[in-house]
Subunit: 298 residues, 2 copies
DNA sequence: CAAAAGCGATGCAAAAAATGCAGCGCTAAG
DNA sequence: CTTAGCGCTGCATTTTTTGCATCGCTTTTG
């Protein structure tokens, strides 16, 4: 939309930290960009950048303005989506920010299922830790977020919550593989790998371990659940993950066992949106479908 | 704001019903306006006007779009007002839609009082019947509405409500002037003037009269309370009005008496805004002051 | 039933706005 | 003390927008 061009430039300047860099990013001359901003500031009635010796930075007025424009751009997308919906076939774009766990199995299956019904709808899927996912919602760069154990819930409006018990992954020949349900203390006696502190699974594990007065001593930490899942094949270690991130039928030589609820309470996988926002039709319907699936999930 | 120019043109076309008339109103050529709209429709991805033989009319997509733009323009004004507020002195503009009763005494006094504290704030005051006032809120053309007994309350978010007993206005030498409180049946025995059906005062009077099985028989009906107040001097008739529309100390030869509560229940004078909207700083503060004054009013 | 009036659309030239280029003055980093 | 990077501005150029004249169409009018 052309009438939002100036805003796109303003965002670019904000990101780049200087007009020249932003001009470069946007394939325009610094002078043109500079004048656009000056002209805008004049008609807006106030400066929106403070000029520093090495560039520019948004001032409080600019912060307010950027927030306004983000809301307005998001709302315009919603209107467009609604209009497309009027004319019969559903079109639109759904952007999702989600935890790693959703990436391999759950979301691909759900998106494919949705697109079978509505081929006109496109998707963008971004892996975000729980903090970044909430930020994505707040800046209107994602419509939906799916995260395990979110941190702040201020702007996060929960659409559906699913309890998820932490599961243990190991090779079929692992000593613990025989038990149908595992105790945390037994797991901690064996070599284990664990996610880094930023993840909800780790937070729950640390909490549970602290109660049992036996600390987590991972032989490897990683921010990739994919890495951890593969690692157990090499050292006969154990790894942790929530069920939604696991294949229903694991690969031949891996087994999956739930951790006893006596040790670690189930965490919550939450789907949410920006608080108070009205989602575009496509996103709202997709969220509706996900909610139905998730509610039947456990 | 220049980036809303196209929207202003769209609104003009909507009002005028044809591109040529709108072009005339906006001091631009029809061809330029026509092309602006065509260009906009193209980048928006859908037509927003349906072309009729005698002009154009918004289609459903256009309705959605206009609503979006109205919200967005109102929000931009809010941001500007907030920014002005950042830089010290309060500036801004407050637009009020209100019933006639508020026009002569109450609002002038309140606005003057507010402007004594904040000379940078300007006002627009429009007389609207209770239906039109609500419409003004819904189209974001007024920030606040002050109406007696509003009709629909769907989009009207009540900020404060004040009970108002209907009062009777007559000359000092009127036979009823001696009583401190009047019964409706006595009033109806004398020549009386009444507001037309669109007014809340009339609705309450009709209701009360129906209960007493004696109908209202006004010798004159008017949509101007000013007219009615002056008329009682000429025929020694009586008129009705709510206290907020009356001078505390009436002019020499007029007296004011409350109608007995046994006959007509007090109506409600409501101050409200568009539901869910965040008002500009100036409007919000003015509303706050009004609320305080009104709560102490009766 | 034909003429007139009103409408939206479009080709083309003129006017206006935005952009690119070159260079200024300034500040902080090397 | 030099240099590199920054925002800003005058001027020529390019792009966009506007105005004018006109077409084809439909409804209204005499």
């Amino acid at each position: 939309m052309k009438h939002l061009q100036t805003f796109r430039y303003i965002e670019a300047v904000m990101r780049a930290g200087s007009i020249r860099k932003a001009a470069d990013d946007m394939n325009i001359t610094a002078s043109a960009l500079n004048r656009r901003i000056q002209r805008f500031e004049e008609e807006f009635g106030s400066e929106i950048f403070e000029r520093l010796p090495r560039g520019v930075r948004l001032n409080p007025a600019g912060e307010l303005l950027v927030q306004h424009f983000r809301v307005q751009a998001s709302d315009l997308r919603r209107v467009q989506s609604q209009v497309a919906d009027l004319s019969g076939e559903r079109r639109g774009h759904v952007s999702v920010a989600c935890s790693q766990a959703l990436i391999p199995y759950f979301l691909p299956a759900q998106i494919a299922a949705y697109r079978r019904e509505h081929p006109g709808v496109t998707f963008s899927v971004n892996v975000r830790d729980r903090e970044a996912a909430e930020h994505d919602l707040a800046t209107f760069s994602s419509d939906l977020a799916l995260v395990f154990e979110p941190v702040h819930l201020v702007d996060f409006e929960v659409l559906v919550a699913v309890p998820q018990v932490i599961h243990v992954i190991m090779q079929r020949n692992h000593p613990l593989a025989a038990q149908p349900e595992l105790r945390l203390r037994d797991c901690l006696d064996h070599p284990h790998v664990a996610p880094t502190a930023m993840f909800g699974v780790r937070a729950l594990l640390d909490l549970a371990a602290a109660k049992g007065s036996r600390p987590l001593r991972p032989i490897a930490e990683s921010d990739s659940f994919d890495f951890m899942r593969h690692y157990v094949r090499h050292e006969n270690a154990i790894a942790f993950q929530i069920p939604i991130g696991l294949q229903p039928e694991p690969d031949g030589d891996l087994v999956i066992r739930p951790l006893s609820r006596r040790d670690a309470p189930p965490g919550s996988l939450l789907m949410g949106q920006m608080r108070g926002r009205t989602l575009p039709v496509a996103s709202a319907r997709f969220a509706q479908m996900l909610a139905k699936v998730l509610e039947g999930y456990q």
